[in-house]
Amino acid sequence: MLGAVACLVLVLIAGMVIFVFAKAWPSFAHNGLSWFTSGADVDLQLEDILNSPANPSEYVYKLNAWPLLWGTFVVTAGAVAIGIVFSLFAAIFIVEFAPPRLNHVLEPVVRLLAAVPSVIYGLIGILVIVPWVGEHLISLERKESVIQVVQLDGACIMVGIAVLTVMITPIMIAIVVDALRAVPRSWMEGAAALGANRWRVMWTVAVRTARPAVIAAAVLATARALGEAIMLSMVAGSASFAPNPIDGITFLFEPTRPLASALVENVEGISVVPFGQTLYAFAAILLISSVFLSLAGYVAKQPLRKYGVRP
């Protein structure tokens, strides 16, 4: 009986994948591989789809979603890359170097950062950080240099990456700390006895043993970052624009709109059939990548079981 309940989870996942893909299929089928390429302005294309005629044979599906995909990739990769370094050092600090009194503060701090709702991060981002970046970090010349292409008002991938990093580090810290704590004490004592200092012991023995956890942390944090919709739609500019790395530093100040944000912002139109199918196509991409990432994280965590850690 309990087993049947447990199997519900698998049924649910299977149902989710099948239904979402079935619903999304027309959008993929009409566009083929060009769905994933860049083309005309995505916002205009979405508008055309939304306003397509009611006759099923005249539905408009044309969409080149590359700017959304690229935005998702840039923001996620940026946040995870910064976050993994930051959280590795923070975890080492918590496990090894923090004075006990500081550790009593750090535990609730990590918990708090994990618990703050994304809409609050978004609110602080849009009301504090975005205006500040817009006024102080982006010079007028920089704004004018790209005025024909895109408007820079402070809501940009840099702010998105920064806030997203803060949001995903608690997850990574939690996983890495658990793994570092589980490294057998005797290994570290052995290294210390051979004359390695405390940092060397942590870096060469503990961190290396906990490598699977670092990978698992990065993978799971990527899954979380991919799905972050609300906060990014608030601070990342929400313009379907593919920031161009050739622009140098200006690149960091260009707005973008990840897939998940595009989904949440356009959800009112979901009852229009072709538009809904396009939205389900976004959801399908997100779903399949998060499923793969979660499974990869699960597999990456397995070697940890050796040391008795159950993350």
Binding site: L2, G3, V5, A6, C7, V9, I13, F19, F89, A90, I92, F97, P100, L102, N103, E107, P108, V110, L112, L113, A115, V116, V119, I120, G122, L123, I124, L127, T169, I173, A174, D178, R181, E189, A192, A193, N197, R198, W199, R200, V201, L220, A223, L226, G227, I230, L263, V264, V267, I270, S271, L279, A283, L286, L287, S290, V291, S294, L295, G297
Partner: protein
């Protein structure tokens, strides 16, 4: 996930308390750089969390207005007349309780099955990874999938039918069902951890007294893991209270709580809003354009979430008192 720094080991380094000769100033430059980087990272964490708390507290105090808590929101161009957020507050409470009411029994059942039965092993591993997948699925995808499910004609009783035969598919029930999937992995995780912490001899003692496995689970194990279940539930409530995407998609987007029908279930079939959607809609990103109200609502939301996290700490402390399970 948030069990981060629990079980603090006493006193630092791998040479016992504090090796007197090993001070960072004598280390090679690279090692010292790493050491200071670790300090910087740790202090940065505290600084970020501190500034978020202080900032929200200051803004909350600045726009403090108890009247907002008891007024229903109304649509009005003039923000001073647009009311407060009584309905979103009730919506948050209602949705959180409903979601946890669904997630807790399911989560406990799954956790018990995984730890106490877990056979066939392949299926158990599949379910285990399935839980991870559910935990990793973006809430916006869950939301949009929920819309697909609840717009089905068969599930029309759970929301209400619009004109024509279309099912609206948005209601407290629909949102709570999908929200429960957010809380589920946390309940499963915490309960499993608690079950694993119970040593085998407790189970054996129960069997030796002639109890069946089912009776052991019900009379011995479940009472012992109650703090674990509590921890998972409180964590889940915090996550549910803080989620926005599902609310925006599945709760219908009416500011006031609107009953779906006049009978007892009308409330659950109805639509409404929560604090998170209220903050989102009143921020510059939404249409509301009332940052003061968004700030105060966000402050209240933060208080709710922090309170739930305190509950987790308290429950976890209570767990240590159940000494007979060691």
């Amino acid at each position: 996930m948030t069990s981060t720094a629990a079980g603090q080991t006493p006193a630092g380094g791998p040479g016992g308390a504090s090796p007197p000769i090993d001070s960072p100033s004598s280390w090679p430059l690279v090692d010292r750089a790493g050491y200071y980087a670790a300090w910087v990272a740790g202090l940065a964490l505290i600084a970020i969390a501190g500034s978020i708390l202080v900032y929200m507290a200051v803004k909350g105090a600045q726009y403090f207005d108890l009247g907002l808590l008891t007024e229903s929101p109304t649509a009005d161009l003039d923000q001073s007349k647009a009311g407060g957020f009584k309905d979103p507050l009730i919506g948050t409470a209602l949705l959180t309780v409903m979601a946890v009411a669904i997630a807790a029994p399911l989560g406990v059942a799954i956790a018990v099955w995984l730890t106490e039965y877990g056979r066939p092993a392949g299926l158990a591993r599949a379910v285990e990874s399935g839980i991870e997948v559910v935990a990793g699925t973006p809430s916006i995808v869950l939301a949009i999938f929920g819309l697909l499910v609840f717009q089905n004609q068969l599930l029309a009783p759970f929301s209400f039918e619009a004109e024509g035969d279309a099912v609206f598919g948005r209601s407290f029930i629909a949102a709570a069902c999908m929200m429960s999937l957010i809380a589920l992995p946390l309940v499963v995780g915490a309960t499993r951890e608690a079950l694993n912490a119970i040593p085998g001899h407790v189970r054996e003692a129960s069997y030796a007294l002639g109890k069946t496995k089912a009776a052991t689970i019900r009379r011995v194990l479940l009472p012992a893991v109650r703090p674990g279940i509590g921890t998972g539930t409180a964590l889940g409530m915090g996550r549910v209270a803080g989620d926005t995407a599902i609310v925006i998609v599945l709760l219908g987007g009416t500011l006031q709580i609107t009953r779906g029908s006049d009978d007892v279930f009308g409330l659950f079939r109805g639509t409404g809003s929560t604090l998170t959607s209220y903050v989102y809609l009143n921020s510059p990103a939404g249409e509301g354009q009332a940052p003061e109200k968004a700030y105060f609502a966000a402050f209240v939301l933060l208080l709710v979430v922090v309170a739930l996290n305190f509950a987790v700490t308290r429950i976890a402390r209570g767990r240590k008192e159940a000494a007979w399970t060691r």
